[in-house]
């Protein structure tokens, strides 16, 4: 039997190398093992803490797996109807121009039912940040086809694979948003490796700083995995994402402000 001894001697402030950000609440995340949401939440929470935005932030959570996002970040929240977060955030920001206002939405929420709200908020150049988690599937309802599901990809409503002839092609909505004069900073990132986490964190930090400039909408897409919906182990899902999602949704900046 292994005896754990001296643990109290190890837990000392001078030995602390990593801790939970205070902006994360003590609630236990409801996500499946290996899901990218938890990492994305944590990045967001860290940025809010590091940029001193806790008392400024008003978040809008979506309908989807991250519907309970307001359980996890210790800031003021509004829960929007499915797809309507950009409209909700529009009014919050217009009526509170000094606050940091953001939405956090999945692909079904942002690119299917909420397409109009997304396009028009970005086209008006609403001074908000949209964080867009794209995992190519409806996670919460159990793995149905999403607007971003890849050609040939299987889901419970495309059980033989997405047939683009009858089901349409995956929607690259981030590219559309980048083409709109109202958008200011549009980037596509991921959170599946430590290096990518750092890049995503840098992108979200930039977006929070850009919001203070009042120059237009910032959208940070995070291409993510859905081990349960894709019916893979977390490791397999990350590999599959690299091999299949990234070629279709290449990582990198789509629109950067002229410095």
């Amino acid at each position: 039997m292994v005896q754990v001894t001296g643990i109290k001697e190890i837990i000392k402030p001078e030995n602390l190398v990593y801790k939970k950000t205070d902006v994360m609440t003590k609630n236990i995340l409801s996500y499946c093992p290996g899901c990218g949401h938890g990492t994305a939440h944590r990045i967001l929470a860290e940025i809010i803490e590091e940029e001193g935005l806790q008392s400024e932030a008003i978040g809008v959570s979506p309908v989807g797996c991250s519907v309970f996002l307001y359980y996890y970040l210790d800031i003021d929240w509004q829960e929007a109807a499915h797809g309507r977060a950009p409209a909700v955030a529009t009014a919050i920001k217009r009526l509170n121009p000094d606050k940091f206002v953001f939405t956090y939405q999945g692909d079904g929420d942002l690119a299917a039912i909420g397409t109009a709200e997304t396009i028009h908020a970005c086209n008006r150049g609403e001074n908000i940040l949209i964080i867009f988690i794209n995992n190519g599937i409806y996670g919460m309802t159990g793995g149905q086809m999403a607007p971003t599901t890849l050609p040939g990809m299987k889901s419970s409503t495309s059980p033989y694979g997405r047939d683009v002839k009858s089901m349409g092609n995956p929607l690259k909505i981030t590219d559309i948003v980048a083409s709109l004069p109202g958008s200011y900073y549009v980037t596509r990132q991921s959170v599946h490796t430590a290096a990518n986490v750092k890049k995503t964190k840098k992108a979200i930090r930039k977006a929070t700083q850009y919001q203070k400039l009042n120059k237009g909408t910032c959208l940070v897409e995070i291409v993510s995995n859905c081990p349960s919906g894709w019916k893979m182990t977390p490791v397999q899902s990350n590999k599959w994402m690299e091999e299949n999602m990234f070629p279709y949704y290449p990582l990198g900046d789509l629109k950067v402000p002229e410095e």
């Binding site: 932030a57 929240w77 829960e79 929007a80 909700v88 009014a91 217009r94 009526l95």
Partner: protein, 356 residues
């Protein structure tokens, strides 16, 4: 300060009253017969004076969700539309009721169903008073019968909305929205600098985070919330019933009518009395809460009641429930955008109740 006298359309009066009432935000989408509201607001440009936000949304769906966002911040926000647009807003209205947010929704009703007509109607009574969207909820529903009331009910709506944390609907119609009358406008009220303690305004260290939501997956908690809403609606039924009576003291027959129909019926009462028929008029000003108790009292003193509505008969069901079988209750109404004439009402009263 003295009230200012102006000649205005009902729609314009709502817009001007909103600016004067210190409304923080208006979010709308054009639709006949109420587009003058958003046009007036952009023309008046209150952004430069009171700082009121006026925004033309991409759809009625977006507009009502903007109202949700603004109301969730504790601001005085409103939208307006007409029947087909109000149908589109129902999803958002249900969420607003579920999150207990105060706001004003103006419906300048036109005939339906579907695209229907652009002429006045009162065919959205069920939708307005019985919920409208999904789930168990009620709006507080105010029914103006004049341009003056369209102006006055803006302030009253926000007073009630914030008192009960409940959405308020002003249920007007195309006739009152479009017609011009003299209106006394209240002096300007400054926009509020504070927000209620439940509002999402950025979490200071001194308080817990505020969450605006209508979601609870725990059935027991959800039922408790439903019971809380019911208690609120009961309190509203108890305290906020508003109505007006016209020659009901000695009446043998009572016309029940709101909005434009009530104005028509006022003339019908006069015409009926000239013919020796003792008619009276009860005009509900609040459609929810409905003047159930008063109608029941009056039912004990009269021979019958006629619900006059520009619909196929919607409010008549609430009149019947109130009368509870004491005397016969009938409906009379024109549809499709046709406004009933006073003579038609008298003829119908005679036909239904005084056969010979």
């Amino acid at each position: 300060m003295e009230k200012e006298l102006r000649l205005m359309k009902g729609n314009e009066a709502v817009a001007e009253a909103a600016i004067r009432a210190g409304v923080d935000g208006y979010f709308g989408y054009p639709i006949t017969p109420q587009t003058e509201i958003i046009e007036y607001l952009f023309e008046a440009n209150p952004a430069e004076t009171t700082g009121m936000v006026v925004l033309q949304a991409e759809s009625e769906v977006a507009a009502i969700n903007m109202v949700y966002g603004g109301a969730g911040c504790g601001k005085k926000v409103m939208t307006s539309s007409s029947s087909p647009g109000i149908s589109l807003k129902q999803e958002g209205i249900s969420y607003i009721a579920g999150a207990e947010l105060p706001c004003l929704i103006v419906n300048v009703v036109r005939g339906g169903p579907g695209l229907g007509t652009i002429q006045p109607a009162q065919s959205d009574y069920f939708q307005s008073t019985k919920g409208g969207g999904h789930g168990d909820y009620h709006l507080i529903v105010l029914a103006p019968a004049s341009v003056q009331e369209m102006a006055d009910f803006v302030g009253l709506s926000f007073e009630l909305a914030f008192k009960y944390r409940n959405p308020v609907m002003m249920l007007s119609d195309g006739a009152i929205g479009q017609m011009m009358e003299k209106v006394y406008l209240s002096p300007h009220v400054e926009r509020s600098k504070t927000v209620p303690e439940w509002a999402t305004s950025g979490k200071p260290k001194s308080r817990q985070r505020n969450i605006i939501t209508s979601l609870d997956l725990d059935s027991n908690r959800q039922e408790l919330f439903n019971r809380k809403l019911l208690a609120k609606y009961d309190e509203i039924r108890e305290k906020e019933v508003r109505f007006e009576e016209f020659q009901c003291e000695d009446a043998e027959y009572i016309l029940v009518a709101y909005g434009t129909s009530a104005r028509v019926c006022q003339k019908s009462v006069q015409l009926a009395r000239e013919q020796g028929i003792k008619a009276g008029l009860l005009r509900p000003i609040t459609l929810f809460p409905f003047p159930t108790k008063r109608i029941n009292e009056l039912a004990g003193k009269v021979k019958g009641m006629l619900s006059v509505e520009m619909s196929s008969g919607q409010m008549v069901e609430d009149v019947m429930l109130a009368v509870n079988g004491k005397v016969p209750v009938y409906h009379f109404g024109r549809m499709g955008g046709i406004v009933t004439t006073p003579e038609e009402v008298v003829e119908n009263l005679k036909f239904k109740f005084i056969k010979d």
